[in-house]
Protein backbone atom coordinates (compact mmCIF):
# COMPACT_ATOMS: atom_id res chain seq x y z
CA UNK A 1 0.00 0.00 0.00
CA UNK A 2 2.69 2.46 1.00
CA UNK A 3 4.44 1.46 -2.23
CA UNK A 4 1.42 2.49 -4.29
CA UNK A 5 1.03 5.75 -2.42
CA UNK A 6 4.68 6.63 -2.71
CA UNK A 7 4.53 5.89 -6.43
CA UNK A 8 1.45 8.09 -6.77
CA UNK A 9 3.27 10.89 -4.96
CA UNK A 10 6.23 10.46 -7.28
CA UNK A 11 3.96 10.49 -10.34
CA UNK A 12 1.98 13.49 -9.14
CA UNK A 13 5.16 15.44 -8.38
CA UNK A 14 6.53 14.90 -11.89
CA UNK A 15 3.16 15.66 -13.48
CA UNK A 16 2.79 18.85 -11.42
CA UNK A 17 6.25 20.03 -12.41
CA UNK A 18 5.39 19.39 -16.05
CA UNK A 19 2.04 21.16 -15.55
CA UNK A 20 3.95 24.29 -14.46
CA UNK A 21 5.96 24.05 -17.67
CA UNK A 22 2.79 23.63 -19.74
CA UNK A 23 1.35 26.75 -18.07
CA UNK A 24 4.47 28.65 -19.13
CA UNK A 25 4.10 27.44 -22.70
CA UNK A 26 0.41 28.30 -22.63
CA UNK A 27 1.24 31.93 -21.95
CA UNK A 28 3.48 31.91 -25.02
CA UNK A 29 1.48 29.80 -27.43
CA UNK A 30 -2.05 29.80 -26.06
CA UNK A 31 -2.39 33.42 -25.08
CA UNK A 32 0.11 35.19 -27.33
CA UNK A 33 0.48 32.87 -30.32
CA UNK A 34 4.26 32.49 -30.01
CA UNK A 35 5.70 29.21 -31.18
CA UNK A 36 8.41 27.94 -28.84
CA UNK A 37 10.24 25.12 -30.60
CA UNK A 38 12.81 24.76 -27.84
CA UNK A 39 10.79 24.40 -24.65
CA UNK A 40 13.40 22.02 -23.30
CA UNK A 41 16.20 24.59 -23.53
CA UNK A 42 14.44 27.00 -21.18
CA UNK A 43 13.43 24.15 -18.90
CA UNK A 44 17.01 22.90 -18.97
CA UNK A 45 18.48 26.35 -18.32
CA UNK A 46 16.39 26.50 -15.15
CA UNK A 47 17.47 23.03 -14.04
CA UNK A 48 21.16 23.51 -14.77
CA UNK A 49 21.38 26.98 -13.27
CA UNK A 50 19.55 25.94 -10.10
CA UNK A 51 21.82 22.96 -9.52
CA UNK A 52 25.01 24.83 -10.36
CA UNK A 53 24.11 27.77 -8.12
CA UNK A 54 22.76 25.73 -5.23
CA UNK A 55 25.05 22.72 -5.37
CA UNK A 56 28.22 21.71 -3.56
CA UNK A 57 31.63 22.22 -5.13
CA UNK A 58 32.44 19.93 -8.05
CA UNK A 59 35.82 19.15 -9.48
CA UNK A 60 36.29 20.17 -13.08
CA UNK A 61 33.29 22.33 -13.74
CA UNK A 62 31.38 25.38 -12.67
CA UNK A 63 29.43 25.08 -9.46
CA UNK A 64 29.70 24.85 -5.74
CA UNK A 65 28.29 28.23 -4.93
CA UNK A 66 26.01 26.65 -2.35
CA UNK A 67 23.55 29.50 -2.60
CA UNK A 68 20.46 29.51 -0.37
CA UNK A 69 17.95 27.33 -2.24
CA UNK A 70 15.15 29.81 -3.08
CA UNK A 71 17.77 32.15 -4.51
CA UNK A 72 19.27 29.32 -6.57
CA UNK A 73 15.81 28.55 -7.94
CA UNK A 74 15.37 32.22 -8.73
CA UNK A 75 18.73 32.09 -10.50
CA UNK A 76 17.42 29.25 -12.64
CA UNK A 77 14.42 31.35 -13.60
CA UNK A 78 16.65 34.29 -14.43
CA UNK A 79 18.87 32.09 -16.62
CA UNK A 80 15.85 30.90 -18.62
CA UNK A 81 14.57 34.46 -18.90
CA UNK A 82 17.92 35.78 -20.14
CA UNK A 83 18.03 33.15 -22.84
CA UNK A 84 14.50 34.04 -23.90
CA UNK A 85 15.40 37.72 -23.94
CA UNK A 86 18.27 37.19 -26.37
CA UNK A 87 16.32 34.88 -28.70
CA UNK A 88 13.21 37.03 -28.52
CA UNK A 89 15.04 40.24 -29.25
CA UNK A 90 16.44 38.75 -32.45
CA UNK A 91 13.34 37.04 -33.76
CA UNK A 92 10.12 38.57 -32.48
CA UNK A 93 10.04 41.39 -35.01
CA UNK A 94 10.28 38.96 -37.93
CA UNK A 95 7.72 36.56 -39.36
CA UNK A 96 6.49 33.84 -37.03
CA UNK A 97 8.62 31.08 -38.54
CA UNK A 98 11.83 32.68 -37.37
CA UNK A 99 10.95 32.27 -33.72
CA UNK A 100 10.01 28.63 -34.30
CA UNK A 101 13.29 27.88 -36.06
CA UNK A 102 15.48 29.92 -33.73
CA UNK A 103 14.00 28.40 -30.58
CA UNK A 104 14.37 24.94 -32.09
CA UNK A 105 17.99 25.85 -32.74
CA UNK A 106 18.43 27.02 -29.16
CA UNK A 107 17.36 23.60 -27.91
CA UNK A 108 19.77 21.79 -30.24
CA UNK A 109 22.63 24.10 -29.31
CA UNK A 110 21.83 23.95 -25.58
CA UNK A 111 21.88 20.16 -25.48
CA UNK A 112 25.01 20.17 -27.62
CA UNK A 113 26.77 22.63 -25.31
CA UNK A 114 25.80 20.76 -22.15
CA UNK A 115 26.98 17.48 -23.64
CA UNK A 116 30.35 18.81 -24.73
CA UNK A 117 31.35 21.55 -22.35
CA UNK A 118 32.76 19.65 -19.39
CA UNK A 119 34.14 22.82 -17.86
CA UNK A 120 30.67 24.32 -17.75
CA UNK A 121 28.33 21.64 -16.43
CA UNK A 122 30.13 18.33 -16.35
CA UNK A 123 29.44 17.40 -19.99
CA UNK A 124 27.73 14.07 -20.57
CA UNK A 125 28.16 13.13 -16.89
CA UNK A 126 25.85 15.93 -15.85
CA UNK A 127 25.73 17.97 -12.66
CA UNK A 128 25.91 16.02 -9.42
CA UNK A 129 26.57 16.89 -5.83
CA UNK A 130 23.41 18.88 -5.25
CA UNK A 131 21.96 18.53 -1.80
CA UNK A 132 18.18 18.78 -1.77
CA UNK A 133 16.99 21.57 0.53
CA UNK A 134 15.95 20.56 4.09
CA UNK A 135 17.30 17.07 3.57
CA UNK A 136 18.87 16.99 7.01
CA UNK A 137 15.54 17.84 8.61
CA UNK A 138 13.30 15.56 6.55
CA UNK A 139 15.56 12.69 5.54
CA UNK A 140 15.47 10.96 2.19
CA UNK A 141 12.37 8.87 2.41
CA UNK A 142 8.65 9.12 1.84
CA UNK A 143 8.17 12.14 4.12
CA UNK A 144 10.60 14.18 2.07
CA UNK A 145 8.86 13.29 -1.18
CA UNK A 146 5.47 14.10 0.30
CA UNK A 147 6.62 17.50 1.54
CA UNK A 148 8.29 18.18 -1.79
CA UNK A 149 5.08 17.28 -3.59
CA UNK A 150 3.07 19.68 -1.46
CA UNK A 151 5.56 22.47 -2.19
CA UNK A 152 5.42 21.75 -5.94
CA UNK A 153 1.63 21.67 -5.82
CA UNK A 154 1.59 25.03 -4.03
CA UNK A 155 3.89 26.51 -6.65
CA UNK A 156 1.65 25.08 -9.37
CA UNK A 157 -1.41 26.69 -7.79
CA UNK A 158 0.39 30.01 -7.36
CA UNK A 159 1.53 29.93 -11.00
CA UNK A 160 -2.01 29.12 -12.08
CA UNK A 161 -3.49 31.96 -10.05
CA UNK A 162 -0.86 34.38 -11.34
CA UNK A 163 -1.60 33.45 -14.95
CA UNK A 164 -5.37 33.56 -14.44
CA UNK A 165 -5.00 37.09 -13.07
CA UNK A 166 -2.74 37.98 -15.98
CA UNK A 167 -5.19 36.66 -18.57
CA UNK A 168 -8.09 38.80 -17.34
CA UNK A 169 -5.91 41.85 -16.77
CA UNK A 170 -5.58 44.55 -19.42
CA UNK A 171 -2.22 43.00 -20.29
CA UNK A 172 -3.87 39.66 -21.00
CA UNK A 173 -6.41 41.38 -23.21
CA UNK A 174 -3.57 43.03 -25.04
CA UNK A 175 -1.88 39.67 -25.60
CA UNK A 176 -5.00 38.23 -27.19
CA UNK A 177 -5.50 41.37 -29.24
CA UNK A 178 -2.01 41.01 -30.68
CA UNK A 179 -2.52 37.33 -31.30
CA UNK A 180 -5.75 37.95 -33.19
CA UNK A 181 -4.83 41.05 -35.14
CA UNK A 182 -1.42 42.57 -34.76
CA UNK A 183 -2.03 45.53 -37.04
CA UNK A 184 -5.24 46.50 -35.27
CA UNK A 185 -3.39 46.48 -31.94
CA UNK A 186 -0.62 48.54 -33.47
CA UNK A 187 -3.07 51.09 -34.79
CA UNK A 188 -4.22 51.61 -31.20
CA UNK A 189 -0.73 52.65 -30.25
CA UNK A 190 0.42 49.33 -28.81
CA UNK A 191 3.86 47.95 -29.49
CA UNK A 192 3.35 44.30 -30.46
CA UNK A 193 7.05 43.38 -30.62
CA UNK A 194 7.61 44.63 -27.06
CA UNK A 195 4.50 42.99 -25.64
CA UNK A 196 5.35 39.70 -27.33
CA UNK A 197 8.87 39.89 -25.94
CA UNK A 198 7.50 40.39 -22.41
CA UNK A 199 5.12 37.45 -22.80
CA UNK A 200 7.85 35.26 -24.27
CA UNK A 201 10.25 36.04 -21.42
CA UNK A 202 7.57 35.55 -18.75
CA UNK A 203 6.60 32.18 -20.22
CA UNK A 204 10.23 31.12 -20.39
CA UNK A 205 10.81 32.15 -16.77
CA UNK A 206 7.95 29.83 -15.79
CA UNK A 207 9.53 27.08 -17.90
CA UNK A 208 12.78 27.76 -16.04
CA UNK A 209 10.96 27.47 -12.71
CA UNK A 210 9.61 24.06 -13.74
CA UNK A 211 13.10 23.04 -14.81
CA UNK A 212 14.59 24.18 -11.52
CA UNK A 213 12.05 22.11 -9.56
CA UNK A 214 12.71 19.12 -11.81
CA UNK A 215 16.44 19.39 -11.19
CA UNK A 216 15.83 19.70 -7.46
CA UNK A 217 13.54 16.67 -7.43
CA UNK A 218 16.19 14.41 -8.96
CA UNK A 219 19.16 16.34 -7.47
CA UNK A 220 20.81 15.64 -10.79
CA UNK A 221 20.61 16.88 -14.34
CA UNK A 222 22.40 15.66 -17.45
CA UNK A 223 22.11 16.16 -21.21
CA UNK A 224 19.71 13.19 -21.22
CA UNK A 225 17.19 15.41 -19.45
CA UNK A 226 17.26 18.09 -22.15
CA UNK A 227 16.45 15.98 -25.21
CA UNK A 228 13.79 17.22 -27.65
CA UNK A 229 11.43 14.51 -26.34
CA UNK A 230 10.43 16.77 -23.48
CA UNK A 231 9.49 19.58 -25.88
CA UNK A 232 7.16 17.24 -27.76
CA UNK A 233 5.61 15.95 -24.55
CA UNK A 234 4.91 19.44 -23.25
CA UNK A 235 3.38 20.47 -26.57
CA UNK A 236 1.16 17.42 -26.65
CA UNK A 237 0.01 18.29 -23.12
CA UNK A 238 -0.98 21.79 -24.14
CA UNK A 239 -2.64 20.82 -27.42
CA UNK A 240 -4.61 18.00 -25.83
CA UNK A 241 -5.59 20.07 -22.82
CA UNK A 242 -6.55 23.12 -24.81
CA UNK A 243 -4.29 26.00 -25.82
CA UNK A 244 -5.36 29.24 -24.22
CA UNK A 245 -6.99 27.56 -21.24
CA UNK A 246 -4.87 27.31 -18.08
CA UNK A 247 -7.06 24.59 -16.57
CA UNK A 248 -6.75 22.68 -19.83
CA UNK A 249 -2.97 23.01 -19.65
CA UNK A 250 -2.88 21.37 -16.20
CA UNK A 251 -5.39 18.70 -17.22
CA UNK A 252 -3.39 17.93 -20.36
CA UNK A 253 -0.17 17.62 -18.34
CA UNK A 254 -1.61 14.97 -16.04
CA UNK A 255 -3.40 13.14 -18.87
CA UNK A 256 -0.43 12.95 -21.25
CA UNK A 257 2.08 12.18 -18.51
CA UNK A 258 -0.23 9.40 -17.36
CA UNK A 259 -0.58 8.06 -20.88
CA UNK A 260 3.17 8.29 -21.48
CA UNK A 261 4.01 6.47 -18.24
CA UNK A 262 1.33 3.86 -18.82
CA UNK A 263 2.39 3.19 -22.41
CA UNK A 264 6.01 2.83 -21.37
CA UNK A 265 5.01 0.45 -18.59
CA UNK A 266 2.72 -1.58 -20.87
CA UNK A 267 5.38 -1.87 -23.56
CA UNK A 268 8.02 -3.01 -21.10
CA UNK A 269 5.59 -5.45 -19.49
CA UNK A 270 3.76 -6.98 -22.43
CA UNK A 271 5.85 -6.40 -25.53
CA UNK A 272 8.20 -9.21 -26.60
CA UNK A 273 11.83 -8.72 -25.67
CA UNK A 274 13.00 -8.05 -29.23
CA UNK A 275 10.48 -5.22 -29.51
CA UNK A 276 11.60 -3.60 -26.26
CA UNK A 277 14.51 -1.94 -28.04
CA UNK A 278 11.92 -0.03 -30.04
CA UNK A 279 9.83 1.12 -27.07
CA UNK A 280 11.08 4.67 -27.61
CA UNK A 281 10.13 4.60 -31.30
CA UNK A 282 6.62 3.38 -30.55
CA UNK A 283 6.14 6.03 -27.88
CA UNK A 284 7.35 8.75 -30.26
CA UNK A 285 4.91 7.58 -32.92
CA UNK A 286 2.15 7.71 -30.33
CA UNK A 287 3.01 11.24 -29.22
CA UNK A 288 3.36 12.41 -32.83
CA UNK A 289 -0.03 10.90 -33.65
CA UNK A 290 -1.61 12.58 -30.64
CA UNK A 291 -0.29 15.99 -31.77
CA UNK A 292 -1.30 15.53 -35.42
CA UNK A 293 -4.62 13.88 -34.59
CA UNK A 294 -5.68 16.62 -32.18
CA UNK A 295 -4.79 19.33 -34.69
CA UNK A 296 -6.83 17.58 -37.35
CA UNK A 297 -9.91 16.71 -35.36
CA UNK A 298 -10.04 18.90 -32.30
CA UNK A 299 -7.53 21.74 -32.61
CA UNK A 300 -9.06 23.59 -29.67
CA UNK A 301 -8.21 20.74 -27.26
CA UNK A 302 -10.45 19.05 -24.69
CA UNK A 303 -10.89 22.19 -22.62
CA UNK A 304 -11.05 24.94 -25.24
CA UNK A 305 -10.18 28.54 -24.60
CA UNK A 306 -13.17 30.44 -23.28
CA UNK A 307 -13.72 33.45 -25.41
CA UNK A 308 -14.03 36.55 -23.33
CA UNK A 309 -16.64 38.47 -25.25
CA UNK A 310 -16.95 42.03 -24.22
CA UNK A 311 -20.68 42.62 -24.33
CA UNK A 312 -20.43 46.36 -24.19
CA UNK A 313 -18.40 46.33 -27.35
CA UNK A 314 -20.94 44.10 -29.03
CA UNK A 315 -23.90 46.34 -28.39
CA UNK A 316 -21.89 49.32 -29.49
CA UNK A 317 -21.12 47.69 -32.77
CA UNK A 318 -24.79 46.95 -33.26
CA UNK A 319 -25.66 50.56 -32.69
CA UNK A 320 -23.15 51.79 -35.18
CA UNK A 321 -23.48 48.81 -37.40
CA UNK A 322 -25.36 50.62 -40.07
CA UNK A 323 -22.73 52.80 -41.62
Amino acid sequence: MIGVISYLVFFATTASILAIAVLGLNLQWGNTGLFNGGVVAFFGAGAYATLILGGAAQAGHLGGYGIFYPLALLGGMVAAGLMAWIVGLLTLRLRHDYLAIATFGVAVAFENLMRNAEWLAGGAKGVRGFERPLRTALGDGFIYNLVFFVVVLLILILTYLFLQRLVVSPFGRLLRAIREDEEAAQSLGKNPARIRLIAFITGSVILGLAGGLYGTFYAFVSPQDVLPTLTFQIWAMLIVGGAGNNRGAIFGAFLIWGAWTASGWALSRFAPVEVQLYTGSVQFILIGSVIVGMLMWRPQGFLPERLVVSHKGKTKRKQHGEY
Binding site: G33, L90, D97, I101, N116
Partner: protein, 304 residues
Protein backbone atom coordinates in the same frame (compact mmCIF):
# COMPACT_ATOMS: atom_id res chain seq x y z
CA UNK B 1 41.99 24.01 -44.67
CA UNK B 2 41.46 23.20 -48.35
CA UNK B 3 40.27 19.74 -47.40
CA UNK B 4 37.68 21.26 -45.07
CA UNK B 5 36.60 23.62 -47.81
CA UNK B 6 36.14 20.74 -50.24
CA UNK B 7 34.19 18.70 -47.71
CA UNK B 8 32.09 21.76 -47.02
CA UNK B 9 31.21 22.17 -50.68
CA UNK B 10 30.14 18.53 -50.81
CA UNK B 11 28.02 18.90 -47.69
CA UNK B 12 26.61 22.03 -49.27
CA UNK B 13 25.48 20.16 -52.36
CA UNK B 14 22.97 18.03 -50.46
CA UNK B 15 22.00 20.76 -48.02
CA UNK B 16 21.16 23.01 -50.99
CA UNK B 17 18.96 20.38 -52.58
CA UNK B 18 17.11 19.95 -49.30
CA UNK B 19 16.82 23.68 -48.74
CA UNK B 20 15.31 24.40 -52.17
CA UNK B 21 12.24 22.30 -51.43
CA UNK B 22 11.93 23.70 -47.93
CA UNK B 23 12.18 27.32 -49.02
CA UNK B 24 9.50 26.78 -51.68
CA UNK B 25 7.12 25.21 -49.18
CA UNK B 26 7.82 27.89 -46.59
CA UNK B 27 7.19 30.59 -49.14
CA UNK B 28 4.08 29.26 -50.81
CA UNK B 29 2.38 27.44 -47.94
CA UNK B 30 3.75 29.87 -45.38
CA UNK B 31 4.82 27.54 -42.65
CA UNK B 32 8.14 26.23 -41.34
CA UNK B 33 7.95 22.57 -42.27
CA UNK B 34 9.93 20.69 -39.65
CA UNK B 35 9.17 17.39 -41.37
CA UNK B 36 10.99 18.34 -44.56
CA UNK B 37 14.21 16.69 -43.41
CA UNK B 38 12.25 13.45 -42.95
CA UNK B 39 11.56 13.52 -46.69
CA UNK B 40 15.33 13.23 -47.11
CA UNK B 41 15.40 10.08 -44.99
CA UNK B 42 12.33 8.75 -46.74
CA UNK B 43 13.99 9.28 -50.13
CA UNK B 44 17.24 7.73 -48.97
CA UNK B 45 15.53 4.60 -47.64
CA UNK B 46 13.22 4.36 -50.65
CA UNK B 47 16.32 4.36 -52.86
CA UNK B 48 17.87 1.66 -50.68
CA UNK B 49 14.85 -0.59 -51.22
CA UNK B 50 14.61 0.19 -54.94
CA UNK B 51 18.32 -0.45 -55.35
CA UNK B 52 17.93 -3.90 -53.84
CA UNK B 53 14.89 -4.61 -56.01
CA UNK B 54 16.49 -3.44 -59.24
CA UNK B 55 19.74 -5.30 -58.68
CA UNK B 56 17.73 -8.40 -57.84
CA UNK B 57 15.64 -8.15 -61.00
CA UNK B 58 18.36 -6.98 -63.33
CA UNK B 59 21.75 -8.11 -62.01
CA UNK B 60 23.59 -6.61 -64.98
CA UNK B 61 22.74 -3.18 -63.58
CA UNK B 62 24.31 -3.95 -60.23
CA UNK B 63 27.80 -3.45 -61.60
CA UNK B 64 29.86 -0.62 -60.28
CA UNK B 65 30.40 2.25 -62.66
CA UNK B 66 34.14 2.60 -62.11
CA UNK B 67 35.66 4.67 -60.63
CA UNK B 68 32.46 5.34 -58.68
CA UNK B 69 31.12 3.00 -56.03
CA UNK B 70 27.68 3.76 -57.46
CA UNK B 71 25.91 1.14 -59.49
CA UNK B 72 23.55 1.57 -62.41
CA UNK B 73 20.80 0.17 -60.28
CA UNK B 74 21.32 2.82 -57.61
CA UNK B 75 21.04 5.58 -60.20
CA UNK B 76 17.80 4.05 -61.43
CA UNK B 77 16.70 3.71 -57.80
CA UNK B 78 17.35 7.42 -57.22
CA UNK B 79 14.99 8.30 -60.06
CA UNK B 80 12.28 6.00 -58.73
CA UNK B 81 12.82 7.33 -55.23
CA UNK B 82 12.42 10.93 -56.44
CA UNK B 83 8.99 10.08 -57.80
CA UNK B 84 8.00 8.07 -54.73
CA UNK B 85 9.15 10.74 -52.29
CA UNK B 86 7.44 13.49 -54.27
CA UNK B 87 4.21 11.49 -54.22
CA UNK B 88 4.60 10.81 -50.48
CA UNK B 89 5.04 14.52 -49.84
CA UNK B 90 1.85 15.11 -51.80
CA UNK B 91 0.04 12.38 -49.90
CA UNK B 92 1.15 13.75 -46.52
CA UNK B 93 -0.12 17.17 -47.56
CA UNK B 94 -3.46 15.69 -48.60
CA UNK B 95 -3.89 13.59 -45.49
CA UNK B 96 -2.55 15.92 -42.85
CA UNK B 97 -1.35 19.39 -43.74
CA UNK B 98 -4.31 20.26 -45.96
CA UNK B 99 -6.78 19.42 -43.21
CA UNK B 100 -4.82 21.28 -40.55
CA UNK B 101 -4.51 24.23 -42.92
CA UNK B 102 -8.26 24.35 -43.35
CA UNK B 103 -8.92 24.02 -39.61
CA UNK B 104 -6.36 26.12 -37.89
CA UNK B 105 -3.88 28.91 -38.16
CA UNK B 106 -0.42 29.00 -39.68
CA UNK B 107 1.32 27.91 -36.52
CA UNK B 108 -0.81 24.81 -36.13
CA UNK B 109 0.92 23.69 -39.30
CA UNK B 110 4.29 24.03 -37.61
CA UNK B 111 3.10 21.84 -34.73
CA UNK B 112 1.63 19.34 -37.18
CA UNK B 113 4.89 19.20 -39.12
CA UNK B 114 6.78 18.41 -35.91
CA UNK B 115 4.29 15.65 -35.18
CA UNK B 116 4.66 14.27 -38.70
CA UNK B 117 8.45 14.39 -38.38
CA UNK B 118 8.25 12.29 -35.20
CA UNK B 119 5.93 9.78 -36.83
CA UNK B 120 7.94 9.45 -40.07
CA UNK B 121 11.31 9.20 -38.35
CA UNK B 122 10.21 6.50 -35.96
CA UNK B 123 8.23 4.51 -38.50
CA UNK B 124 11.39 4.37 -40.61
CA UNK B 125 13.25 3.27 -37.49
CA UNK B 126 10.72 0.51 -36.84
CA UNK B 127 10.87 -0.76 -40.43
CA UNK B 128 14.59 -0.60 -41.07
CA UNK B 129 15.96 -0.99 -37.55
CA UNK B 130 18.08 1.47 -35.68
CA UNK B 131 21.45 0.37 -37.02
CA UNK B 132 23.08 2.19 -39.96
CA UNK B 133 22.73 1.01 -43.55
CA UNK B 134 25.02 1.61 -46.52
CA UNK B 135 24.38 1.66 -50.27
CA UNK B 136 27.64 -0.10 -50.95
CA UNK B 137 29.67 -2.21 -48.59
CA UNK B 138 32.81 -1.75 -50.65
CA UNK B 139 35.36 0.71 -49.49
CA UNK B 140 35.54 3.63 -51.86
CA UNK B 141 39.14 4.67 -52.14
CA UNK B 142 39.84 8.35 -52.15
CA UNK B 143 41.98 9.85 -54.83
CA UNK B 144 44.91 11.84 -53.58
CA UNK B 145 44.75 15.25 -55.20
CA UNK B 146 47.80 16.58 -53.46
CA UNK B 147 50.17 15.26 -50.82
CA UNK B 148 51.24 18.48 -49.22
CA UNK B 149 48.84 19.61 -47.92
CA UNK B 150 47.10 16.28 -48.04
CA UNK B 151 43.89 16.62 -50.00
CA UNK B 152 41.70 13.60 -50.59
CA UNK B 153 38.60 13.35 -52.70
CA UNK B 154 36.40 10.40 -53.55
CA UNK B 155 35.07 9.96 -57.09
CA UNK B 156 31.59 9.57 -55.59
CA UNK B 157 31.84 13.03 -54.11
CA UNK B 158 32.64 14.54 -57.48
CA UNK B 159 29.61 12.76 -58.92
CA UNK B 160 27.37 14.02 -56.11
CA UNK B 161 28.50 17.59 -56.59
CA UNK B 162 28.13 17.41 -60.38
CA UNK B 163 24.68 15.83 -60.20
CA UNK B 164 23.50 18.35 -57.62
CA UNK B 165 24.67 21.30 -59.72
CA UNK B 166 23.02 19.79 -62.80
CA UNK B 167 19.69 19.42 -60.97
CA UNK B 168 19.86 22.98 -59.70
CA UNK B 169 20.57 24.22 -63.20
CA UNK B 170 17.60 22.25 -64.53
CA UNK B 171 15.38 23.77 -61.86
CA UNK B 172 16.71 27.21 -62.74
CA UNK B 173 15.70 26.67 -66.38
CA UNK B 174 12.23 25.51 -65.35
CA UNK B 175 11.69 28.46 -63.03
CA UNK B 176 12.99 31.11 -65.39
CA UNK B 177 11.98 29.83 -68.83
CA UNK B 178 8.65 28.04 -68.54
CA UNK B 179 5.09 29.22 -68.01
CA UNK B 180 4.95 26.88 -65.03
CA UNK B 181 7.96 28.64 -63.53
CA UNK B 182 6.27 32.01 -63.92
CA UNK B 183 3.08 30.66 -62.35
CA UNK B 184 5.05 29.33 -59.40
CA UNK B 185 6.77 32.63 -58.82
CA UNK B 186 3.49 34.47 -59.20
CA UNK B 187 1.84 32.33 -56.54
CA UNK B 188 4.78 32.94 -54.25
CA UNK B 189 4.47 36.69 -54.75
CA UNK B 190 0.73 37.00 -54.35
CA UNK B 191 -1.54 33.95 -54.30
CA UNK B 192 -4.83 35.76 -54.85
CA UNK B 193 -3.55 37.91 -57.68
CA UNK B 194 -2.06 34.82 -59.34
CA UNK B 195 -5.42 33.07 -59.10
CA UNK B 196 -7.20 36.03 -60.65
CA UNK B 197 -4.82 35.65 -63.56
CA UNK B 198 -5.79 32.05 -64.08
CA UNK B 199 -3.08 30.20 -62.14
CA UNK B 200 -4.43 27.03 -60.57
CA UNK B 201 -3.41 27.35 -56.92
CA UNK B 202 -4.09 23.72 -55.98
CA UNK B 203 -2.03 22.46 -58.88
CA UNK B 204 0.83 24.81 -58.02
CA UNK B 205 0.84 23.58 -54.42
CA UNK B 206 0.96 20.01 -55.70
CA UNK B 207 3.88 20.88 -57.95
CA UNK B 208 5.74 22.44 -55.02
CA UNK B 209 5.42 19.25 -52.99
CA UNK B 210 6.47 17.11 -55.94
CA UNK B 211 9.55 19.22 -56.65
CA UNK B 212 10.41 19.57 -52.99
CA UNK B 213 10.00 15.86 -52.34
CA UNK B 214 11.95 14.87 -55.45
CA UNK B 215 14.89 17.09 -54.60
CA UNK B 216 14.76 15.96 -50.98
CA UNK B 217 15.03 12.34 -52.14
CA UNK B 218 18.18 13.11 -54.13
CA UNK B 219 19.59 15.05 -51.19
CA UNK B 220 18.89 12.10 -48.89
CA UNK B 221 20.61 9.63 -51.19
CA UNK B 222 23.60 11.92 -51.56
CA UNK B 223 23.79 12.22 -47.78
CA UNK B 224 23.65 8.44 -47.60
CA UNK B 225 26.45 8.09 -50.14
CA UNK B 226 28.64 10.59 -48.29
CA UNK B 227 27.88 9.25 -44.81
CA UNK B 228 25.48 6.42 -43.97
CA UNK B 229 21.76 5.88 -43.64
CA UNK B 230 20.32 6.09 -40.16
CA UNK B 231 16.63 6.55 -39.29
CA UNK B 232 17.42 9.67 -37.26
CA UNK B 233 19.31 11.38 -40.09
CA UNK B 234 16.40 13.82 -40.45
CA UNK B 235 16.97 15.01 -36.90
CA UNK B 236 20.57 15.90 -37.72
CA UNK B 237 19.70 17.52 -41.04
CA UNK B 238 16.71 19.65 -40.10
CA UNK B 239 18.63 22.50 -38.50
CA UNK B 240 21.32 22.84 -41.22
CA UNK B 241 18.60 22.91 -43.89
CA UNK B 242 16.65 25.56 -42.02
CA UNK B 243 19.87 27.53 -41.57
CA UNK B 244 20.43 27.34 -45.33
CA UNK B 245 16.97 28.75 -46.07
CA UNK B 246 17.38 31.54 -43.53
CA UNK B 247 20.86 32.46 -44.75
CA UNK B 248 19.55 32.55 -48.31
CA UNK B 249 16.32 34.28 -47.38
CA UNK B 250 13.02 32.42 -47.06
CA UNK B 251 11.40 32.02 -50.48
CA UNK B 252 14.49 32.48 -52.60
CA UNK B 253 15.53 29.35 -54.53
CA UNK B 254 18.89 30.84 -55.45
CA UNK B 255 19.32 31.94 -51.86
CA UNK B 256 18.68 28.37 -50.73
CA UNK B 257 21.36 27.06 -53.07
CA UNK B 258 23.88 29.61 -51.89
CA UNK B 259 22.77 29.20 -48.28
CA UNK B 260 23.25 25.45 -48.48
CA UNK B 261 26.82 25.85 -49.64
CA UNK B 262 27.55 28.56 -47.08
CA UNK B 263 26.19 26.44 -44.21
CA UNK B 264 28.02 23.36 -45.48
CA UNK B 265 31.33 25.17 -45.80
CA UNK B 266 30.93 26.99 -42.48
CA UNK B 267 30.16 23.71 -40.71
CA UNK B 268 33.34 22.13 -42.02
CA UNK B 269 35.54 25.18 -41.52
CA UNK B 270 34.29 25.39 -37.94
CA UNK B 271 36.16 22.14 -37.33
CA UNK B 272 39.35 24.19 -37.55
CA UNK B 273 38.49 26.22 -34.48
CA UNK B 274 35.87 24.18 -32.59
CA UNK B 275 36.04 20.58 -31.34
CA UNK B 276 33.97 18.32 -33.58
CA UNK B 277 31.41 17.76 -30.82
CA UNK B 278 30.13 21.28 -31.36
CA UNK B 279 29.38 20.82 -35.07
CA UNK B 280 25.59 20.46 -34.51
CA UNK B 281 25.51 23.96 -33.01
CA UNK B 282 27.13 25.68 -35.98
CA UNK B 283 23.90 26.07 -38.01
CA UNK B 284 22.27 27.70 -35.00
CA UNK B 285 25.14 30.17 -34.67
CA UNK B 286 24.76 30.98 -38.35
CA UNK B 287 21.04 31.61 -37.92
CA UNK B 288 21.78 33.96 -35.02
CA UNK B 289 24.45 35.76 -37.04
CA UNK B 290 22.13 36.22 -40.01
CA UNK B 291 19.28 37.45 -37.82
CA UNK B 292 21.62 40.01 -36.29
CA UNK B 293 23.19 41.27 -39.49
CA UNK B 294 20.63 40.74 -42.22
CA UNK B 295 17.36 39.36 -40.82
CA UNK B 296 15.78 38.57 -44.18
CA UNK B 297 18.77 36.66 -45.50
CA UNK B 298 20.83 37.26 -48.59
CA UNK B 299 17.99 37.30 -51.11
CA UNK B 300 14.91 37.42 -48.93
CA UNK B 301 12.47 40.24 -48.54
CA UNK B 302 10.45 41.42 -45.58
CA UNK B 303 7.04 39.84 -45.44
CA UNK B 304 4.71 39.39 -42.53
Amino acid sequence: MIQHLLDGILTGSYLSLGAIGLTLVMHILRFANFSHAELLSLGAYAALVCDALVSGLAPFLAVKLAPLSLTGSLILAILVSMVLTGLSALLIDRLVFKRVREKGQELSMVFASFGMALIMRNVIGLIFGLSPELYSRDIAFATVLSRDPLILIKPDQVFVLGAALLLMFALHLVLSRTTFGYALRAVAENPSLAQVNGVNLQRTIMAVWLIGGGLAAVAGVFYGISHQLIPVMGRDLVLPIFAATIVGGIGSVYGAVLGGFIVGIAGNLALLILPSGYTPSVPFLMILAVLMIRPHGLFGEARA
